[in-house]
Symmetry: none
Subunit: 215 residues, 4 copies
DNA sequence: CATGAATGAGTCTTCATTCAT
DNA sequence: GATGAATGAAGACTCATTCAT
């Protein structure tokens, strides 16, 4: 589908320099933040490099000094966001090793929802980015890591053993992403977030219980 | 974000003419099919009117005779797909009135999954369309209709009464869409579809049971 | 400036058939009227053959049976309008042969203004047509004929003989077209038309008097 | 007929940037000049952005960097031309305050004709521009300003007081624009310009005299 | 003859990217 | 390093005109 190999894409999307000077770092950050702002404020459809440079208060030329192309800008934001979520999930999964399934379900669900809801506007805007060229790669990678983390956690549960670990882990994940996405795409309010959190806990909990055999 | 009113958008996206000659009908169909094909084969990023016309074996002019603009092409495909799914869900919900919750969960889940998996490539490609300008409107509408249908069904369950009908219906829906999307975005195979179907049934069933009070 | 010779243009702009059947004649007329209506209602910018055919209640194909191209449609309307004005002017000039200058000025001015004000909307819309390809030819021709008619009339005045007949005739004409155009382009109302008429009489009268020697 | 508000049009037609580098300024100028050249050499009908960019020796992209759209190019040229004429008229009117009517008529007429005849080809080409979308706005504005200037001048005449100042001013203006347009649209030669100038003086002078009462 | 579907050249406009200053 | 002017390929859309039915 794409003539570039996976690694070629990866290379192309990496920020250009590992800046050593403080100034460079500040500029990179400004561009990074501007990318988010433009994305959130204007949407993917009106997202372009000129606007990002403008918001960042730098010239387009500078922008291209730090990011090799438009996609790399978006990739950076998407990746960092996903990485954050992944790390949160990995951390909580690690912490939950050996705990009962219900505790796990609760802890992971809450951690995931909270990670996604830290900046709901950004989370929402990134759905469009994920759909763009190359975005799927990052999403896939994140999914894989969370899948692994969850699998490992579930397998270590103290009170029960899930049947078909692969499928259950995958479903567990989707049982969180589905409702979160739905919320972000409809209407985000304090009250709804709270309710969502609780219901996702119930959803995952009930599911895990239903698909596991007590040890 | 968009200065056009809702109805203005709707009008702008409606096909242009109701063809009278047989030839037109064939052309319209060819264009519609070409839209799907380009979408599936090339992806949203490389989707453009020239390509669609080419594949349909007609001139761009003809394309614009039937669809007022590029978005209307995509809207037509997205809308028809969503409408089909919505109708399937509405039908099964209606048929399940007064049945026990577990039967409902199973019937609705299976119907939904099957509707989405009729043409997995199309379902998958349309996620990108939904993210584009205006796509969200159709998704929102579909969601609303399915939400209503599900709410009505759940409220009529013979054996139990859900707490917080609104949230539960919404979660029910997301508990189906999340895993289905996940499947479509990773890897579709007969075996996985079958497993998915069963697990979604378990997921929704367990959730409904957990959030309802026996009558 | 244009690669077609004058006569080639003329040929190309002539309506295609000299219709003998009543039906043809009616169709031609419908198209002609539709041309005017589209022009007046939508303006030159939105004027196109499809719209004309629609308004005329015929197919584009039929339109092209009667008029060889878009320009010929506009040319027909422009020409007929100008021809009408020219004829009015020629007639009044002929009638005024041998009369005193002041009477002439009054009679010609009033006739001209009235001819232009019969359908002010059409007169106004045609200014844009006159500016289009080929329109200038018709305007030029009309000007020439009116110029001649006026020259002849002025030369025959009973009470005075104009100095520099060429220039005076030309100025006489412009002294009418200028104010009329100004009125049409600003605001047409009964009251303003009446005032305009009187002032044009004064303008032309005073001018002719000032540029002539009593016999 | 146009859904944009006046100010929206105005904004849309304003040049895009106030160039900071010297290079930009040269480019902007080249584009401006190319606009005039294309207009004069090819006429409105064959006027397009590609042609302008080509003649200016820049890319289309550059053109759009400085002018937001095609209309703004034409508007810029039309506006500058009209502004020049308006300023000339305003200046001479101011200078003529309190003078006798005949002097005024002569001074204003000559100033106006000379302003229009500085670049006859441009003046002529702009008639077509004035007829296009939005051109009328600029013409209207120019007319209004000249009307005001002339009214003020006439009202201050030392020797006479015009009846119906509004109409007389308006007629005065048209008595200049009509003949000038006629000349530009037929044949411009040194000799004719000279004659025209004199005859316009006579025309306006005679008219003002005829419509005023001695003080 | 009438119809209206089909054509495709021609235009406007955007925006990622480069490179001279 | 930074700037922002310049580029031009690419894409959406229109409309005069033709021609099979």
């Amino acid at each position: 589908m794409n003539s570039l190999s996976m690694s070629a894409i990866a290379a192309e999307l990496k920020p250009r320099k590992s800046p050593v000077q403080a100034r460079s770092l500040a500029t990179m950050d400004a561009i990074y933040e501007a990318t988010i702002q433009v994305l959130v404020a204007e949407g993917m459809a009106r997202f372009n490099t000129t606007r990002v440079a403008e918001r960042a208060g730098v010239s387009v030329g500078s922008l291209y000094q730090y990011y090799p192309n438009k996609r790399s800008l978006l990739a950076a934001v998407l990746e960092r966001h996903l990485l954050h979520v992944v790390e949160v999930v990995e951390k909580v999964c690690a912490a939950q090793r050996g705990m009962p399934l219900a505790d796990m379900a609760r802890a992971v669900s809450i951690a995931f929802v909270d990670a996604k809801m830290e900046r709901p506007d950004v989370s929402k805007a990134l759905y469009a980015v994920a759909e763009e060229h190359g975005g799927a790669v990052f999403v896939g990678r994140a999914r894989t890591r969370m899948h692994k983390a969850i699998s490992a956690a579930l397998a270590s549960a103290s009170d029960a053993r899930p049947n078909d670990l692969e499928t259950v882990s995958s479903m567990f994940l989707s049982a969180m992403t589905g409702p979160v996405r739905n919320l972000l795409e409809t209407d985000v309010s304090r009250a709804r977030i709270a309710r969502l959190r609780e219901h996702i806990v119930v959803l995952t909990c009930a599911y895990l219980t239903a698909t596991s055999l007590a040890r």
